[in-house]
Symmetry: C2
Subunit: 432 residues, 2 copies
């Protein structure tokens, strides 16, 4: 009999993550300076602290064995305790949380996936900043959910714009499909914007007010919180959820310690513990126990904080290098603007409206020819709501050395000048 | 506004894995002898080989850094090469496979999940042995798929019964919903049965013949292949798929090396590489790279095989102990039968038809009171097709010492005698 492949609806929905193509391109042309991938700096990976923690873990036969055995679905309890006590140290008002609410995942991405599985049916809506974290847009697409973009300003998602979107959706009879609002409150990916606590409180308030008949959750992706290079830490979005029923927080050690060990977590409202753990039980039965014991050892032995301080210094320097290079190269190009982040791994650049930076644009090709790769900003826009701005780029300063950052930005400027022979003075930093 | 939690359809479908409740019970009553969990033996976990591999990995700054960095979605290429060359060593005719077809996952369970996501829509059907691996039944339920049980004999799923099920489903207009046939060909969970290669070939042939309009895949879960304690190895189910378009194989180092490191894999027909990797990209962006580098180091340095030989010896002894204890305790109880496996971690026991061993049965309670925990066999039956046999139990000999196995089986016999005061002689080993 003749037969053909019939995939699931899910498989049809799952576009490959566009960033994967960029990564492949970067790997295929190693002389390219990639300002695209959000990888962490290879040179500052924590070889010594990890070695020390492993030695300590293997000094006791019993602790080594435990790390090599199965764990539980929500994760290694001492690690969850350590995460909670870190949170309590910085955000005193989180004292009502219990470790039951902490779930360990394979990076924060898996938590985003588990929450999506638990809350979203096909056609359901998540409101996101426009632009927002592109990988999460893929996750939403994969479960058949719709992402609706909300306008941003220099402090992130604009509460009035959010209200406006909710009102519109309500008028269209779509409010019952709105299940969550997604925020990246610290040095967001892709814009580098940090949302002040008061604004987060307003957004959480809006979520609660519009929870008519069913709860609208706020997913606060706090993956970058530890990567602050200036200014004071801001308390977690958990602290503005008085009832503890609205905010879901995710975090990860992927950026702040090691993506290879790949330990992330979620802090969940009580009513989501069982659903999220059920999904996790069906997907992988719990994240690798060895990685969890290793991270617990790293935290217990005080090896995390000194490493964090070290990489903050390194990334601070690279961020300053990138901002200086942008000023040097683009300061005289009219209509080129960028955001000055206080942390994270990204700088968001906006070109004059007439210049597309999309993956099929002349600029993208010329940039590759000039030796530099960036993430086209249009990848970061939700599929509904606020219009896509194709004249945008996400630049990452995480992976490259300061020298390469300077060269990469110079190559980018050569490319922009080639496609836009404007050459007039003006422009400069901008929020956003 | 008043609001209530509204979960996804998926969340409603996701029953907690029933085994989780048993594990919690075992943890809560530590004096219980658990013959339930399929954990591996804590005492034989590979502390020394892992230490040696870690030392070697950290001897070179560059290799340590690579392990701490992000990897790719399908996994670390050298590890995939190593897996492929292990397969070629044992199954020469797998030479047409390429490493593109090898995907690294967080245990073989994640591969089962990814394949389910890629192939199954709600209502789709997977044909399984009755009984079969209970965790996979949970995975199927979670995506809204239906499992249909097919009768088994001493060699596993019966081809004639499979044909019969397919004919029935075809007559009911359901053939187009049949997407896969699931096999656990080596020392299966829960029965300990190994399916001869000729029968696998027949089943693959049936899958191809009934692939009318769309491909019916055979998922061969070869998780236990390495855990053989007697007899000759049997080639992989891959070797009976001449076109290479039907069989999906999963494997894992969780049982044969360490569940904590948690490295499993899938070997996919070419047409499933992209869909499965897309799902994986959206779920976790690739399995923890550190674990993959560690397993690659273990294989490269020849640390895997000696460990495997060691645990084979240990499990062989425990299996013999359990079989001897069953003979001693149940040999005189009429109607009690069990399967004699040549490997794996499980012995399947069938009680007289009148005695239920279900989780709410008197036997289960009396057994716990007598100090022993088992997996009720009814958890292992698909929700359609062959009827559930509540008079069955899965016993695992993996975790307990030989002494505890003897005590556990004795406690179980006391419990059975209490609920079934039959006491007549007869019975004995049986297939199955």
């Amino acid at each position: 009999m003749s037969s053909t492949l019939r995939l699931s609806q899910r498989a049809e929905w799952a576009e490959g993550q566009p960033i994967s193509d960029l990564m492949s391109r970067a790997l295929a042309e190693p002389e390219l300076i990639s300002l695209a991938a959000g990888f962490v700096d290879q040179r500052t990976l924590p070889v010594e602290p990890t070695r020390e923690a492993l030695t300590s873990l293997f000094a006791r036969e019993s602790s080594a064995r435990e790390a090599l055995q199965y764990g539980t679905t929500p994760g290694f309890p001492p690690l969850r305790e350590l995460l909670l006590s870190r949170l309590l140290d910085s955000d005193a008002c989180c004292h009502e949380l219990s470790i039951d609410q902490v779930v360990i995942t394979a990076g924060s991405n898996q938590l985003l996936h588990l929450v999506s599985e638990s809350l979203l049916d096909p056609g359901d809506i998540v409101l996101c900043a426009a632009p927002t974290y592109l990988v999460f847009l893929g996750t939403l697409g994969n479960v058949g959910a719709r992402s609706v973009g909300v306008a941003i300003d220099q402090y992130g998602m604009v509460p009035e714009a959010l209200e406006h979107s909710l009102r519109q959706l309500s008028e269209q009879g779509e409010l019952r499909r709105v299940k969550a609002i997604y925020l990246v409150p610290y040095f967001d990916n892709p814009c580098g914007i940090t949302m002040p606590l008061e604004r987060r409180a307003r957004i959480v308030g809006i979520a609660k007010r519009w929870s008519d008949g069913h709860q609208i959750h706020v997913i606060a992706d706090e993956a970058y919180r530890d990567l602050r290079y200036e200014g004071e830490d801001v308390p977690s979005t958990l602290t503005v959820d008085d009832e503890g029923d609205t905010v879901i927080v995710t975090g990860t050690f992927s950026k702040s310690f090691s993506p290879g060990i790949r330990v992330g977590w979620g802090i969940l409202p009580r009513h989501l513990i069982a659903p999220v753990c059920s999904q996790k039980g069906n997907i992988d039965f719990g994240s690798p126990n060895f990685s969890q014991h290793l991270m617990a050892e790293i935290l217990t032995r005080g090896l995390f904080q000194p490493h964090l301080t070290r990489i903050q210094q390194s990334y601070r320097q690279k961020l300053q290098t990138m901002l200086a290079a942008l000023h040097l190269q683009f300061g005289s190009l009219p209509g080129v603007r960028w955001v000055r982040p206080a942390g994270g791994l990204y700088v968001w650049v906006q070109l004059p409206a007439a210049i597309s930076a999309g993956p099929d644009s002349p600029l993208f090709d010329v940039a590759v020819r000039e030796g530099v790769l960036y993430v086209p900003g249009e990848y970061c826009y939700p599929n509904m709501g606020e219009p896509v701005r194709p004249n945008t780029m996400r630049l990452s300063f995480g992976v490259q050395t300061p020298e390469k950052i300077v060269q990469g930005v110079a190559a980018l400027a050569r490319a922009v000048r080639q496609v836009c022979p404007c050459g007039i003075s003006g422009a400069g930093p901008h929020d956003p």
